[in-house]
Each structure stands twice: as structure tokens, then as C-alpha cells.
């Protein structure tokens, strides 16, 4: 479980996050939705310590991330798997090397054990036998799946996903969504997905947080979202004619 309390963040005069508090539950796919520039990515980056907070607390299963020393922060980060918007695969490494990289850095497993784990993760994301490919040879969906494999190779307790569906076709996006949800249930991890893809919201939205202008405006699940009277939320979620018709009918 990840808990944030009274998070405040400013970039100069831009007040990006205003007194944000929330609990991201374990074993659930926690979605953060909101317009571009609403503070979603900043929140994710605060959770993993890439941005410093002005005030507030970030607790990983009760451990205050910002109160512990850098060395302990690094150890905690080893328990976090992160799926970046563009995949962030190391372009000078093959698929196998990318996934094996955290194992090389932090474990004392033998080469055979590491390879077994890599192959297991590749199988899990349905990319068996793609070990030798370079990132430049992968499609957008494959890149995301390799990034998921790398994120789960260390068996993380927390999985953070920043716009996992950006740039993907709807079919591939659903595959990625389902994969994230399956992994969350299978390993009982705390997953946070940052998205503005409404298909994702309807597909895997177990616990949804709507951020608007740096504040949390609404919390609920996908069923509650369909029946919400929150104007800002409705303006955001039902922006397209298709979703307007879905709400009406």
C-alpha cells in the first residue's frame, strides 16, 4: 500500500499539486486520471522520488520515503517497478540484456538462473524467443511489454505505470491494460496507473482518482464514474460523443 498525505508541489509560481492525500491499495489497479498538465505525472514522479515535495508525506507500507536516507531510498526503489511512457529501454542493450539488467545489478543469481527469470518474464508478457531483438526493432506494444517484463523481473511490491497506452492502437492498449491488471492480481502488488485513456479506465479502473488543477476532485470505481454528477469529471471523461452516448444509454 502507498499512502500520500497533504502533498504540496510548486514549480516556481505554478502550484502543481495542492494538498493531495490518497491511499493506493495493494492488489488493486489504482488509476490516476486527469487532463494533460493536471499534475498526474508530477505525482508519479514524487512517489518515486524523482521530484522533491514541498511538503507532505509519502508512505510505502508505512515507511516515509522522504524521511529515510538516500541509501535506504535506493533499497526501497529496488522494490518499485516502473513502466515509463516511452518504455525507457536502454537502446544499446538487447531485450534480454534490458530485462536482465536489474538482476545483474542487484542479485547474485547465476547466469542460468538469471536467464530462466528473464525467459519467465518474457513468457509472462507473451514475448517468448524475442531475447535477441534490439529496442529499435520492437513495435510500440512490444516495447511496452518488454518494459513491463523489466519492471517485474525483480518481483516488485509496487508497480507504477505512466501513460502505459500512449501511442498504442486500441487493441494493443487493451492487451497492455489486461497484462497490468493480471500482474497486479497475480503478485498482489500495489499498482498505480497514470492515464487519460478512457478505454483503460473502463477496462481496469478498480480504484480511480480524478486530479484536476492539482487537486483531487473525485474518487471511486468505474461503475461510480459512470453515474457521477461531478461536472468537471463528466466534462473530462465524457468529452467524446461516444462516451456521452454511453452515459446516456
Amino acid at each position: 500500500m502507498i499512502e500520500i498525505k497533504n502533498i504540496e508541489k510548486k514549480f516556481g509560481n505554478n502550484h502543481v499539486l495542492k494538498n493531495v492525500s490518497f491511499i493506493f491499495e495493494r492488489g488493486k489497479t489504482n488509476l490516476i486520471i486527469g487532463e494533460s498538465g493536471s499534475g498526474k505525472t508530477t505525482l508519479i514522479k514524487i512517489l518515486i522520488g524523482l521530484h522533491k515535495i514541498d511538503s507532505g508525506i509519502v508512505l510505502f507500507d508505512g515507511v516515509d520515503f522522504n524521511a529515510i536516507k538516500t541509501k535506504k531510498q535506493r533499497l526501497l526503489r529496488q522494490e518499485i517497478g516502473m513502466l515509463f511512457q516511452g518504455g525507457a529501454l536502454y537502446d544499446y542493450m538487447s531485450v534480454e540484456e534490458n530485462i536482465m539488467f536489474p538482476l545483474n545489478m542487484f542479485t547474485k543469481k547465476t547466469e542460468i538462473e538469471k536467464l530462466e527469470r528473464v525467459n519467465f518474464c518474457l513468457k509472462r508478457v507473451k514475448l517468448e524467443g524475442k531475447n535477441g531483438l534490439m529496442p529499435s526493432e520492437l513495435s510500440g506494444g512490444m516495447t511496452k511489454r518488454v518494459a513491463i517484463a523489466r519492471a517485474i523481473v525483480m518481483q516488485p511490491k509496487y508497480l507504477l505505470c505512466d501513460e502505459p497506452n500512449s501511442g498504442l492502437d486500441p487493441k494493443t492498449a487493451i492487451i497492455i491494460d489486461n497484462l497490468i491488471q493480471e500482474i497486479t492480481k497475480e503478485y498482489n502488488i500495489t499498482t498505480i496507473v497514470n492515464t487519460h485513456d478512457m478505454n483503460s479506465v473502463m477496462e481496469i479502473g478498480e480504484k480511480i482518482t480524478f486530479i484536476n488543477k492539482g487537486e483531487i476532485w473525485w474518487k471511486g470505481n468505474k461503475d461510480e464514474l459512470l453515474n457521477s454528477n461531478n461536472k468537471e469529471l463528466n466534462d473530462f471523461v465524457f468529452a467524446s460523443e461516444l462516451f456521452k452516448r454511453l452515459k446516456k444509454g
Partner: protein
């Protein structure tokens, strides 16, 4: 090591050979007075190459090649979130990415400069031949009143320059913000800043070591 050093060997050899040859020809043209002995061409070429061309000029050229490569590599990694990915894994990205580059340049650049000196002198000999300087005269000048400390001085300068190139370029690359254009800007800024610092430290080190 391969990226910051070995890939530059060919460039260093080509540059040093031709500059050595040109230095030799120009020196011989400017020493047309019959009272000046022809072995001075070898001596002047030697000192020009060891004291200034090999350590300083080659370092400036390497600032363009290696420095821009380091800055653009790190800049690309920054804008594609590869550096963030390292941080998330709990890896100190700065020491993981930058330290090997600093060590490789500081270790390898002196070898490049020594190669440059050797090849430059071969070029100077060839240039001298075309300017009617005999091999015997050239070799005599090359050995005449040779001060071995000049080599030490050149290597000390090179080590400083290598450190400047790798750290300044890494700084600009590592702190890139934005997209592809920012990577290009970071790369250019790295080369400009490295070059200016090399020239400044060339003056300071020369003043300290040789004065």
C-alpha cells in the same frame, strides 16, 4: 574505452600526420636565411607538436568528437527517461553513467596524445623531405637539446583536458531538459564550454608548469 578513445585513433593519426607535415614545410619556408641551420626545422616541428599541437589542438578536436558524443548520449538517455529508469532501480545514475567515461578519457587520452606526437613527427619528416630537408638534418634537429620534461608537461595538460571534456560534456548531457532539439543544444554547449575551458587551462597550466 572504445567510444571515447579507440574510435578516435584514426582521426588523431590523420590529423597529426598532415599537421606535422604542414608545420615542417611552413617552418622550412620561414627559415630560408642560409645562416639558419636546416636542422632547426626538425627542432621547431618537434617542439610545436609536443608543446602545443598534440596536447591542446588534438584535445580541442576531441572535445568536438568525444565531448559531443558524451553529451548527446547522456542527453538522449535523459529525454527518453532512461536515466530516470536507472534512478528508479536504485542505481546512482550519475556515477554509473559518468564515472566510467571520465576514467576512460583520463586514462586513454594521454595515449592518443603520445600517438599524435609520434605520427606528427613522421608527418614532419615527410614534409621536411618535400622541402629539401635531409633525413639526417631532420633527425639531428629532432634530437637536438631535447627536454624530456616537455612530454611530461604535455601529458599533464592532456589529463586536465580529458577531465574537462568528459565532465563538462557529461554535465550538459546529464542535465538536458526537453526533446531532441535540447539534446543538440546540450551537445553544442558542451563543445563550446569544453573548448573555452581547455584554452583557459592551457594558459594557466603553461604558466604554472613552464614558467
Amino acid at each position: 574505452m572504445e567510444k571515447v578513445g579507440l574510435n578516435s585513433v584514426t582521426l588523431v593519426i590523420i590529423l597529426s600526420f598532415f599537421v606535422g607535415a604542414v608545420v615542417s614545410i611552413q617552418t622550412s619556408i620561414n627559415m630560408s636565411n642560409p645562416l639558419l641551420p636546416s636542422y632547426l626545422v626538425g627542432l621547431a616541428s618537434r617542439d610545436s607538436l609536443i608543446l602545443e599541437f598534440s596536447p591542446t589542438m588534438i584535445s580541442l578536436i576531441l572535445a568536438g568528437k568525444v565531448g559531443s558524443s558524451i553529451a548527446s548520449e547522456l542527453g538522449s538517455m535523459r529525454v527518453t527517461e532512461q536515466i530516470d529508469a536507472l534512478e528508479i532501480m536504485g542505481i546512482n545514475s550519475a556515477s554509473f553513467l559518468i564515472l566510467p567515461k571520465v576514467i576512460a578519457t583520463v586514462f586513454f587520452f594521454p595515449f592518443l596524445i603520445i600517438i599524435s606526437m609520434g605520427v606528427g613527427m613522421v608527418g614532419a619528416w615527410v614534409g621536411g623531405l618535400s622541402a629539401n630537408i635531409t633525413t639526417a638534418d631532420f633527425m639531428f634537429g629532432l634530437k637536438y637539446e631535447f627536454i624530456p620534461f616537455y612530454i611530461t608537461y604535455a601529458i599533464i595538460k592532456t589529463i586536465f583536458f580529458a577531465f574537462i571534456i568528459s565532465t563538462v560534456s557529461a554535465y550538459f548531457g546529464y542535465h538536458t531538459k526537453g526533446g531532441a532539439i535540447s539534446v543538440g543544444k546540450a551537445s553544442t554547449a558542451a563543445v563550446v564550454a569544453s573548448s573555452i575551458l581547455i584554452l583557459l587551462f592551457n594558459y594557466i597550466l603553461t604558466d604554472i608548469i613552464l614558467s
